[in-house]
């Protein structure tokens, strides 16, 4: 695809929803640092630190919404199929009195297919969220696609585009709700060990809520390191 066309598409995809909903939506900046390594062809590990900052509360103590250290592992069943699990810890509003925590356990399966250097991934994830005040299950399905912007192969120093959509339902014995997360991102592939991504995610939340759907925009800046 022509690189200028891609940039124009990305700009429209980002600016249109932001302009349309920016007055009422929540705005989050989400820096992430990820580190992955493999102990064999089959077994891989990942640790990540993810921070959610409220852009509207930029100047006060509520700015940091969540801090999430994460750990996951994956086991390759075949070249294109992985299963895995992990644990997240979430600390909510750590700068404000009365902060809350969450322990999150997850199990997932993924299917990855390649067309040259273009990749399509399906991920199905089940989560158990143990919060200081409640318990919730979550079932998530995500479709991701990334592809090089220059040529057929993604070489060091080149950029790539990544689009994702994730649908999920959250439920416990008392209530259930649903959410959709659509995102588009631009990545810089420095080399096989490091890459950087800037993305915009649009979340449609509380789909079944009596209070109506809420919207959230999340700007992510993610740095990925591999061993």
């Amino acid at each position: 695809m022509d690189f200028m066309k891609c940039k124009a598409l990305l700009a429209v995809a980002i600016l249109y929803p932001v302009c349309a909903f920016s007055q009422q939506a929540d705005l989050i900046w989400n820096p992430e640092l990820s580190y992955s390594w493999k102990s064999s062809d089959r077994l891989g590990f990942n640790t990540k630190l993810s921070v959610f900052n409220s852009i509207r509360d930029f100047d006060n103590e509520a700015a940091i919404r969540y801090i999430e250290p994460q750990f996951t592992f994956s086991y390759g069943l075949s070249a294109g199929t992985k299963i895995g699990g992990g644990y997240y810890y979430r600390l909510s509003t750590p700068m404000v009195d009365g902060y809350q925590y969450e322990h999150r356990f997850l199990q997932q399966v993924g299917f990855i297919s390649y067309l040259g250097d273009r990749r399509l991934a399906h991920r199905l994830r089940l989560e158990q969220r143990v919060r200081s005040s409640s318990y919730q299950n979550r079932l998530r399905y995500r479709l991701s696609y990334d592809f090089p912007l220059e040529g057929e192969k993604l070489d060091p120093g080149e950029k790539y585009l990544i689009v994702k959509d994730e649908m999920m339902t959250a439920f416990n014995k008392d209530e259930a709700d649903a959410e959709n997360r659509a995102s588009v991102g631009l990545g810089w592939y420095f080399n096989s060990k490091q890459k950087f991504e800037v993305g915009l995610q649009y979340r449609t939340q509380d789909v079944f809520s009596d209070g109506g759907i809420s919207h959230l925009f999340l700007v992510s800046t993610s740095y990925y390191l591999n061993r």
């Binding site: 700015a63 990749r119 991934a121 990334d146 040529g151 057929e152 990544i162 420095f190 080399n191 096989s192």
Partner: protein
């Protein structure tokens, strides 16, 4: 709060500055860049034009592994995608034709399948290419023979990519067979990390 944001904003800058150093150490990786037709060596363009008469759709690439530079033309001819590789002076290195596995002779398919079966408990063919190169012919003679489907006097090999696994290995592999189905070379295809899509 100010200090917190200063740290958060400074962190990517520090990592990015260290990345420049890291990237410089990987210059030996093979890099493929899309280029304009005009950037191809004149001799390579002349050869292409002689046989394909200004193809409607062709993509041009420059490849470098840090030491050797080569040029590649990708185009479609008679329902097959072709990849034609030249060295920096424009001399032909080889021609690769993307084919279906079923296009190979039955006996050859059996020999190749048996060899892969011996190496992997489960596998799936993902890409099959017929590779033509010259024993002694001139470059234009090689292209002419390929167009006329006169493969005598040409060195033919088959480059087959598979997804497979056995007790010790799992992943994507590139296997090179000679025209009798004997395995010449095998190498693992190093895929990009899945950390951003998995």
């Amino acid at each position: 709060m100010k200090t917190y944001y200063q740290i958060l904003l400074l962190l990517p800058v520090l990592i990015l500055s260290s990345t420049r150093f890291g990237a410089a150490q990987h210059t030996k990786n093979e890099v493929e860049k899309s280029i304009d037709r005009d950037a191809m060596p004149a001799r390579a363009l002349s050869l292409i034009n002689q046989f394909w008469k200004e193809p409607k759709k062709a993509d041009f690439y420059r490849q470098s592994d840090g030491e050797m530079i080569s040029y590649e033309v990708k185009l479609n001819w008679e329902d097959h995608p072709y990849s034609i590789e030249f060295d920096a002076s424009g001399s032909l290195i080889d021609v690769e034709q993307l084919i279906e596995f079923e296009e190979l002779p039955h006996a050859l398919r059996n020999t190749i399948t048996e060899e892969i079966n011996n190496q992997y408990t489960t596998f799936r063919l993902t890409r099959v290419q017929r590779q033509f190169s010259a024993f002694e012919n001139d470059d234009d003679e090689v292209l002419k023979k390929i167009l006329e489907e006169d493969f005598e006097d040409l060195l033919i090999r088959y480059e087959i990519e598979i997804d497979g696994h056995n007790k010790t290995e799992l992943g994507s592999f590139e296997m090179l067979f000679d025209e009798n189905g004997n395995l010449i070379q095998k190498r693992k295809i190093v895929r990009r990390s899945l950390d951003n899509i998995w």
